[in-house]
């Protein structure tokens, strides 16, 4: 396969970036999208040019590193996968592919396709945890949890923090990410003592980081490689209302 790539190149956070065009030759249909970029980079290195910087780690869809917008789709055109799980058979010979980084004020571009997602970490630090005395591990099943709650918590916990929700959102809002974290802990007994403090603090941090707000378009759940539902956003809203109108 031969493809034409339009890739966002930006030297560093302060530099002005722009799209550069590259030819990707000898691309096999079984290559992953990242392997295709590796091939292009090898060519660039041989030519003495700087390779395209992109983030990657596990390459099996569970680490959340490999975020990039491919032809206007965060993680590419296929549903429920991250960029590393996208295979070149999705594209046809001669296709033009536009590749650019996540775009949000809270995600400054470090280089080319690499953005700084520390803002998400700071939202977690603001309340995405439970405070417990550590010691010997408690017995499994010592705390009974209804199956429904366990399932719901698990669905929320599949979030890999990749930031595709922010990238997809017309307002660059991090509501789906924050909601998944709030709903995950809020569904479990261990999360109850700090439940309302958590939602207040995490939303305050989300606002402080410069993310936008939620207009309920639902673009985030379409882009999410883990198919996290905007029902969790309704749950965050519900907890937020309670946090304001209860005494705690």
């Amino acid at each position: 396969m031969k493809l034409t790539l339009h890739v966002w190149r930006q030297q560093n956070a302060g530099a002005k970036g722009g799209f550069e065009t590259y030819e990707a030759r000898d691309i096999g249909p079984d290559m992953s999208f990242l392997e295709m970029l590796d091939v292009v980079n090898e060519g660039l290195i041989k030519e003495g040019k700087e390779p395209i910087a992109f983030e990657h780690d596990c390459r099996e869809g569970i680490c959340g590193s490999c975020g990039m917008v491919i032809n206007g789709n965060p993680h590419g055109p296929k549903k429920a996968i991250s960029s590393c799980q996208l295979h070149m058979r999705t594209f046809a010979d001669g296709d033009k592919i536009w590749i650019e980084p996540w775009r949000a004020k809270a995600f400054p571009v470090r280089k080319d396709l690499v953005v700084d997602r520390s803002a998400l970490d700071r939202i977690i630090q603001a309340g995405g945890f439970i405070s417990v005395r550590t010691g010997s591990a408690p017995d499994a099943n010592a705390i009974p949890i209804p199956k429904e709650n366990a399932d719901s918590a698990f669905d929320a916990a599949t979030c890999i923090g990749c930031g595709a929700c922010v990238a997809a959102c017309p307002n660059a809002s991090a509501m789906l990410f924050t909601a998944a974290k709030v709903a995950h802990l809020g569904a479990l007994p261990q999360g109850q003592p700090e439940r309302y403090e958590r939602v207040r603090n995490m939303v305050a941090q989300m606002d402080a980081e410069g993310f936008g707000y939620c207009t309920n378009h639902g673009a985030c759940q379409t882009a999410c490689p883990k198919e996290i539902s905007i029902d969790f956003i309704a749950q965050l809203n519900r907890d937020m209302m309670r946090a304001f109108f209860t005494s705690r």
Binding site: A168, S173, Y213, A219
Partner: protein, 225 residues
């Protein structure tokens, strides 16, 4: 008060205030539409309804007092709704300083994309509408105390009638996304209720649209004269 202010400072709280005021204004729109439809019962019933709006609450309230109380409530709701919308829109503009080379459009409906400009059109319309039928400033031959005659005369102009119909389409779209969105923002939805609420919002939007355009269409086609 402190809690309301804390609520207002957060983006989620601002949205909740928008949702609550939006639902309040939706309630007004429903009653306004029902009131309008009384025009089909003829001039006497229609004038009697207009009079009722001024005398309701008597003797606890003097003539027009309750009406003005309601008007003040609506004005406050509109102000909160609009100010929150403007502030949130600016927040969203700031959140993405560089736009995409290839636009990202996932899963949004025409209704959800047009909420902001639709809102601006509706705000402009409300001002025009009040000057048209309440104060009569921009009405060609306004007769105070003759609501029926004012409606008939007001819709004689084809341009006025058509623009009313178009704006009611904008209102329908705003309500279609707005009703569902408000419930989501207040945390009232759930996965089982999502479909039914969207369907209900769509149905309500169509009913409101038809209920409002019935009047200009009837005047224009000569059913009401």
């Amino acid at each position: 008060m402190k809690r309301i202010l804390a609520l207002y400072r957060s983006s989620v709280g601002k949205k909740a205030l928008m949702a609550a005021t939006g639902l309040l204004l939706f309630g007004f729109i429903v009653s306004h539409m029902l009131g309008n439809l009384k025009v089909f019962q003829g001039p006497e019933k229609f004038s009697a309804y207009a009079e009722f709006l001024r005398t309701v609450g008597y003797p606890l309230f003097a003539r027009g007092q309750l009406l003005w109380l309601a008007r003040i409530g609506l004005i406050v709701a509109v102000i909160v709704h609009v100010v929150a919308a403007v502030e949130l829109t600016m927040m969203a503009r700031d959140a993405r300083p560089t736009s995409y080379g290839r636009p990202v459009h996932l899963e949004d409906t025409y209704a959800s994309r047009t909420m902001r400009w639709g809102g601006v059109i509706l705000a402009g319309f409300v001002i025009y509408h009040v000057l048209h039928f309440t104060f009569g400033t921009v009405h060609p031959n306004f007769e105070p105390g003759d609501p029926y005659g004012n409606v008939i005369a007001g819709f004689q102009s084809v341009i006025v009638a058509i623009s009313y119909i178009v704006v009611m389409g904008v209102l329908g779209l705003h309500l279609y996304h707005g009703i569902w969105s408000a419930l989501q923002t207040l945390g009232i939805t759930s996965s089982e209720l999502d479909r039914p609420i969207r369907t209900a919002a769509g149905t309500i939007a169509v009913v409101i649209f038809l209920g409002f355009i019935a009047v200009p269409v009837a005047v224009w086609s000569g059913v009401l004269r």
